[in-house]
Symmetry: C2
């Protein structure tokens, strides 16, 4: 097979993050579940925004963050996601290209505005996310370029794509194209509540179509409705070729062809905002994976990338990640 033009093509909801500090009491008042992502409509987005503290706008979106991280490591990434032709869409478009990621998805004209995620960061550095999908609901199979997918070693899909209806079709088309071209399919489970919304579909997807699975502890236990993480780990062994299961400050477990490797978390001076930790872990892992590194080395790079992004506000690296590798 000829060398691929891209290491990874990421497909996801293209979102601008609106990040503000919030107290635990604020979460309680607004009846929000700490650490989770929930979907909100335009009206709720407006009313929650009105109550939030002053914020910072930074490009986000799970797979978008992963592609920015991959590029920051020196990897070649492409991204597919739908923004509107508006100011926030310009921000997203600028930032992902400026990060060095190939991005050419057609912008939505005259429809919903660019998606935003209202992120509340509590004093414990946890993030609670409220996503208004906006233009993302218009991402469809027509946005998937067969040439780009076939020319990527890995197509990386975020589980969040199962929320907007047509994105799921785009997702399936991309996975099929990748396999037809002899490429790998990676999936991030995204969020335990997202898993809850789409459990059956995710289960058949993972068992039939996914080569590399990313999940954190609560997502993977939610997938199987398992009673413990250990149970989830043992069920994952038989299910996919490669899985990277993250456990916050406890590090991560990599399951590769039935073998389990434990990776320690990278030390962080101060955890400021955990937004993007999983996305950047995936970036580092895929960077190693697409260079033929083993699970241990790939997991190590994932841990380093995740450590950088939780040390500051925002879900994309602030310094070139390549410089942080040993």
């Amino acid at each position: 097979m000829k060398p691929a033009r891209f290491d990874v093509t990421g497909i996801g909801n293209a979102i601008v993050d609106v990040i503000a500090h919030a107290s635990d009491a604020f979460l309680v008042d607004q009846q929000l579940t700490k650490g989770a992502m929930r979907l909100i409509d335009a009206q709720e987005a407006r009313s929650l925004y009105e109550k939030m503290a002053q914020a910072v706008e930074i490009s986000g979106g799970s797979a978008g963050n992963t592609m920015a991280g991959l590029a920051s490591l020196g990897g070649k990434g492409a991204y597919v996601g739908k923004v509107a032709a508006d100011q926030l869409g310009d921000v997203f478009d600028h930032d992902i290209r400026a990060a060095g990621v190939h991005f050419e998805t057609t912008k939505l004209e005259g429809g919903a505005p660019t998606a935003r995620c209202l992120i509340l960061v509590t004093p414990d550095a946890q993030r609670t996310m409220n996503t208004f999908l906006g233009a993302c609901v218009e991402l469809g199979p027509e946005d998937i370029d067969a040439g780009i997918i076939a020319d990527s070693q890995v197509v990386y899909l975020e589980g969040y794509l199962y929320d907007p209806p047509r994105a799921k079709e785009a997702f399936k088309k991309a996975a099929k194209l990748a396999h037809d071209a002899g490429r790998k399919v990676a999936l991030s489970l995204s969020d335990p509540f997202c898993v809850d919304r789409h459990r059956d579909e995710f289960m058949s997807l993972v068992s039939e179509h996914v080569d590399i699975l990313f999940a954190n502890q609560s997502e993977i236990t939610s997938l199987y409705k398992a009673n413990s993480f250990d149970e989830a780990v043992s069920r994952t062994k038989g299910l996919v070729e490669t899985a990277a299961l993250t456990q916050s400050e406890e590090g991560s477990l990599i399951i590769h062809k039935g073998e389990v490797v434990r990776i320690a978390a990278e030390k962080v001076k101060q955890v400021v905002d955990t937004t993007g930790a999983g996305d950047l872990y995936a970036a580092g892992f895929l960077y190693g994976y697409t260079r033929g590194l083993g699970p241990e080395a790939s997991g190590r790079i994932g841990a380093i990338a995740a450590a950088e992004v939780i040390g500051h506000v925002g879900a994309r690296p602030e310094v070139p990640l390549l410089g942080l590798l040993p």
Copy 2:
């Protein structure tokens, strides 16, 4: 005179900052003067933005930052500035209100977009600013509410208002209304090149209408085309009742009724981004001034507020400033 509803009303160009890291070589390539603010048109804004690294969007604008700082100290502030009815206008509007500042200037419909300032932060933490004024050029005397000005102890004007033509009229109207109501007028000289553009007008303005002058070393020497800071200081003594002259890490000098007080700079662990240092100094000083504190105590608060804002990216405080006071 009855107690004022507001401590300070700030009037300025309402701007969203677009902040990115840049190398010194990038400034040279783009022929930019480090540390200065220059005005750019829509086309140049687009072409410079395309070349910039991934960025963060944060509400800014010199007087807007000052008002956010004042509110963060517990002061009562109002702000007048023109944004468009667009996404970045919503961001500005949200953030200044969320900071606790009264803001009700009518948004521009169907005209230029909300102003943005493309800020390049070099590794030495200096900021170089490129402002597309957008909707700001439509700020005019009709946006000045006589009731609010009369009900503010101080009206604070940024020198940058002299760049858009009608804002200057708004500026003059506000200054006259303030004095007619027995209130004080404060002016920030904003930028040495801005002083250069409007030197004669600033000179007559300062000598005839300004009670409290804010300037940094290069702005005040530019005002008089003085050969030294000392010369500028001695000329300032006779010119205004109160002046606060900042000198970066060397601290500041306060001239009050002919007496000179020196204020040391506040120690900063790491200077990350100097954007907003002068704005926050003014916030702290005015907070003290409107509480009847003397020049030394007011300058001290200014130094503390400036130190907070240069410790992170963005020109508005990230923590409640009141908690930083001794």
